[in-house]
Symmetry: C2
């Protein structure tokens, strides 16, 4: 029921997924049965693979997380996450209110990692495809341990979502040298390098590496990640509007813009296409789809959810997480270098 | 001598400034006299207003700050900063190696504010002109006091550089609510709000507000600022290259791109034009100009330097800085709110 378009996007996405995904994949649709049933009935393939679970209420897109927790029980979002806990669903997918989804998922599924709240991965376009950038979910206070957890979870996610056997990882810093940055990031660097994890850790990267595709996974704390993501989104928005102004500033430019329109549309699509982002660190699989997602975006999110559910994602995370206490103990004995710039 | 283009950009910029600025403004040019003298002699207005100070050596663009400190004495950059300390020059301006300029300036002029190193302001384009964004100079460990210092210095700089009587200030955070963010940013928020400064502080802003122009000055720590700036630069670079690819992807798009070229050039210029950025927190005025600056950029930097030197910039900063100890004492008594999200 969530997102900017609700069932008008979700139902066609499910219909598309029914034809594209193996017929062992089935769907539970949580929401207003009166709205969902007629739309589902139009799709022949839905019989036997789509089940509607009626929910009286929905979480509003503007509701605060605390409000969503108080009155969320029985809403479509709540029921979808509960189905994961009960083992009825392998994953919950929503284009609804992000803060509410995080709060409800944390309450119902509980955190597995030692985080304030689930970590969120943003897919950032690069010349090589997409960089998985985390945490953009606003875990503001991140010590070295949390940064390493993000690296472990982000790597497993990137492999499951993009099929790359051995994703590379970088730790976001203000320079590539070992002495740069604050204590947390230097400590995380040492733990990742020396901790014996099954990870292809490449060291420090800088802000512009996120869109360069220098590494597959860029790790940072939730404060920096949230700010950097929004800063990039803001820059994209400014550029788009300035470009629009420039291309309509005179008859020649306007004619040029008309001729170039196809190319520009293709460009905008690539910059904006958001695959699904999982909420990481939960005991269960929950994916967030962008509120403005199209039917094609949402269908892609369903594919990602199936890939994640069928992958070794959870086991891989657990294996590396198991190394973490020893890795922290081994490296914490080393003194921090002085004179960091 | 510095920057990507050296004297070939600096001399024409000085020539332009000689005609545009009052004839009380004079220039000391530090560098290789053999290279500078013939170029200066071509400009009639230079006589009596331009003095060449010969320097045998220059700081290389790739030299590390520590290296620049060791062997910097007698270089053109060193001499330019020394002229400020000796009261011979009201400001030093360089397009050279940023790290070296910061280290040499700190050594020669000393810090006035309690910072690891000078703070750097980046001018970010917005629909309203430019947002002054600081610190992008990599002061990575910033407590509330340093954030407030950035606000005070950034506000005075914005007024002097852009002529706006009362610049507005925002503190970068992951949300606009009072409870958001880490301790440092919430404490700085309280101090700025309740400290009795002569500042128009507007509260928390988010990453996309930097390019929206929500406030004139956006304040953050040097870690987040450096990452956000580079992330925006990276996004701009990706967009430009993707756009180029899209606009040459077929004959129609290419024809369109040719027709729209003027508009696109104008757009790129606006996005890239870098006014000068001062190194803030020093006992003296030092400005950094982008290494790739054109003659027009450099001339604009000279105007900004004159504006800053003639303004009440330093006195305004000192006045608000004088309020800081009392403001910190007043607000530090308050307990931090629990349950910050």
């Amino acid at each position: 029921m969530g997102g900017d378009h609700g069932p008008s996007v979700v139902i066609p996405a499910v219909a598309r997924a029914l034809t594209e995904l193996p017929d062992t994949v089935c769907f539970l649709l949580h929401g207003d049965e009166a709205a969902l049933a007629p739309a589902v009935a139009q799709h022949a393939g839905a019989a036997g693979r789509v089940t509607i679970r009626h929910a009286e209420r929905v979480i509003g897109m503007d509701e605060k997380p605390a409000q969503a927790l108080r009155r969320g029980k029985g809403t479509s979002m709540w029921n979808a996450v509960e189905a994961v806990r009960e083992g009825e669903a392998a994953a919950a997918i929503s284009a609804g209110n992000t803060g509410a989804l995080m709060a409800i998922s944390k309450l119902i599924l509980r955190m597995s990692a030692d985080l304030d709240r689930p970590a969120l991965v943003a897919p950032i376009p690069s010349p090589k495809g997409f960089t998985s950038f985390l945490d953009v979910g606003a875990n503001v206070d991140c010590d070295a341990e949390r940064l390493v957890e993000f690296a472990i979870m982000g790597e497993a996610y990137h492999r499951a979502a993009y099929g790359k056997a051995r994703p590379t990882i970088g730790l976001l810093n203000v320079g590539a040298e070992e002495m740069k940055g604050h204590d947390e990031v230097r400590e995380a660097h040492r733990v990742l390098r020396e901790g014996g994890f099954d990870l292809d850790y490449r060291g420090f990267v800088e802000g512009d590496d996120i869109t360069k595709g220098t590494v597959d996974v860029v790790v940072t704390d939730g404060f920096t990640g949230n700010v950097a993501l929004k800063a990039m989104e803001g820059a994209l928005r400014l550029i788009t509007s300035e470009l629009r102004a420039a291309l309509t500033s005179g008859p020649l430019a306007t004619a040029g813009a008309l001729l170039a329109r196809g190319a520009l549309t293709q460009f905008r699509e690539r910059m904006n296409r958001p695959p699904a982002a999982p909420l990481l660190g939960l005991n269960g699989l929950v994916l967030k789809v962008h509120g403005g997602a199209s039917g094609r975006d949402f269908a892609q999110a369903l594919r990602v959810a199936v890939d994640l559910a069928q992958s070794d994602f959870a086991a891989e995370i657990e294996r590396n997480m198991g190394r973490l206490p020893a890795a922290l103990a081994e490296t914490s004995a080393e003194p921090a270098p002085d004179g960091a710039i």
